[in-house]
Symmetry: C2
């Protein structure tokens, strides 16, 4: 039986200590209702952005307690499906986004989805649903994180590869892991340059697994062809450094080779990919091809 | 008849004024011999990097004068093929690359290519030949650029999409354009984290075209599915800002819509992709899907 976690149970901060709204076990499949990043407060292009309740931005549904999860474990989330609604919103806000200084006025766009395509000015963009905010309770030493920021616990990673078919891994930092998620996008380009994607409520189905004693430094996501280390920083250089360092380390440990040779593998095969450049911290993922190391090799080498 | 430009005719700086070694006309197909970035000085893993001649790094074959090309035109280069040799080299150098501070010793690796795969520690990496350095004479106001740096004239853009099948466009800044190229890589990950790709001599076949009065601010490359604006800066934030700004501008001009709506299109569909993080300036490309604007729309709107 699939457990449902309803969208009215939300948090706005990932805290080391949180009260769970649901308890599940490894092997369970759960369906999570997620709100859009505005908690559905924006329904019309004529609305005034300044008048919405800013205390209700970026709700994440949860937290969900996973039985048996303890600090040092690795939480494994297979993303089975992300079903988005038929309409989403985009907001352009002066001084926000990669080109915030060029924005002359706030703009809201409500965009319909027809037959799997987001239609804007008559142009059809194939949707690629993804989860913007997903994370677990941070380590005590990392403290509290508002849901609009990414860090080692996950959070607002805004990574397009966090999509159906991918498997996402989080280092567990607190008992029960305390998973929460929200802020799905029907479609978004790498970078999320204007500050939002196509923000939309969704139903996310996840299969939950647990690997004991296998925690990594940062979350990572597995796609058909890559293992991607997702790291964040105060600027892209910091995020590049962190994600590349961990990619090289995992290649070194998985293959049992010298650090410099792992660095060579990374230079020839690892793609550094921008996730987002618009949140309080920015995010980069280092994509290791599975023909270099497999997920099993990576996990066994931890 | 295909004109051959031999690899002994090289430059080490892109200068506003250069003496051409060959003259061609729009419509011509040329074959260019390129040297690796070390001018083939490294042939063994036992060599001492400090002993090679650093005055011969990053040779670019050319310059090639294109008849009729004038400042304000757009040079169009269809990359027909990039044939690389059967062996390349990778260098790891202390304090170079994205993780230079972690390098404990200089390392050279000579890597063989067998049946289209680069083989290292028994792992086969499919090769994806690309051109590292390619550019034209800079504008007077931009001055001289060593071949190891990218800028508006092109240069060391180290962009994996500059590959066979792609079409590359350069704003012409000087009479005759004065094209030069070199520094091919058999394979490289986005970022080129260790400072080099798989450095290798090659023969590059290009079909040369010219569009009068259509110059852009930065070079761009067209692939099967994208138009990518290639911009460089002192850090990734600068390169992101430049490439994203130009992508939004081209979407706005091509579709005849407001700037904010073009910004929305960019946020939903444009991927900001890291090209390289290790050269004197770093490079990002903003990839606009062709379902948003076509190359023809972009060019007509200039």
């Amino acid at each position: 039986m699939v457990k449902l976690v309803s969208g009215d149970k939300v948090i706005y901060k990932f805290k080391p200590s949180m009260e769970a709204v649901e308890t599940i076990s490894p092997g369970d499949v759960i369906k999570v209702e997620t709100n859009d990043c505005f908690y559905q407060q924006i329904t019309s292009e004529e609305q005034v952005l300044a008048e919405i309740d800013y205390d209700r931005l970026n709700p994440a549904t949860g937290p969900i307690y996973i039985e048996g999860a303890e600090p040092g474990d690795l939480l494994k989330l297979k993303i089975i499906s992300i079903d988005v609604k038929s309409k989403g919103v985009v907001a352009v806000v002066p001084n926000e986004g990669a080109l915030g200084d060029q924005v002359t006025k706030p703009v809201i766009r409500v965009i319909e989805i027809e037959d799997g395509q987001a239609v804007f000015h008559g142009i059809k963009m194939p949707i690629k649903p993804m989860i913007g905010v997903i994370g677990v309770a941070p380590a005590d030493e990392d403290g509290e994180w508002p849901t609009d920021s990414p860090w080692k616990h996950g959070g607002n990673m805004d990574t397009t590869d966090i999509k159906a078919g991918s498997t996402l891994y989080f280092p567990v930092r607190q008992k029960g892991a305390l998973l929460a998620l929200g802020d799905c996008h029907a479609v978004m380009g790498d970078g999320e340059v204007c500050f939002t994607g196509l923000e939309i409520p969704a139903e996310v189905v996840l299969e939950v697994g647990l690997l004991k004693g296998k925690a990594t430094k940062w979350p990572f996501v597995e796609t058909d062809e890559h293992i991607m280390i997702i790291a964040s920083g105060n600027n892209l250089e910091e995020a590049v450094y962190e994600s590349a360092s961990q990619a090289v380390k995992h290649i070194q440990d998985s293959l049992g080779i010298g650090w410099e040779d792992a660095y060579v593998f990374a230079s020839l095969s690892v793609d550094l990919k921008i996730s987002q450049v618009v949140d309080p911290k920015v995010t980069v993922r280092a994509a290791i091809p599975k023909y270099v190391i497999s997920t099993q090799q990576l996990i066994e080498s931890i």
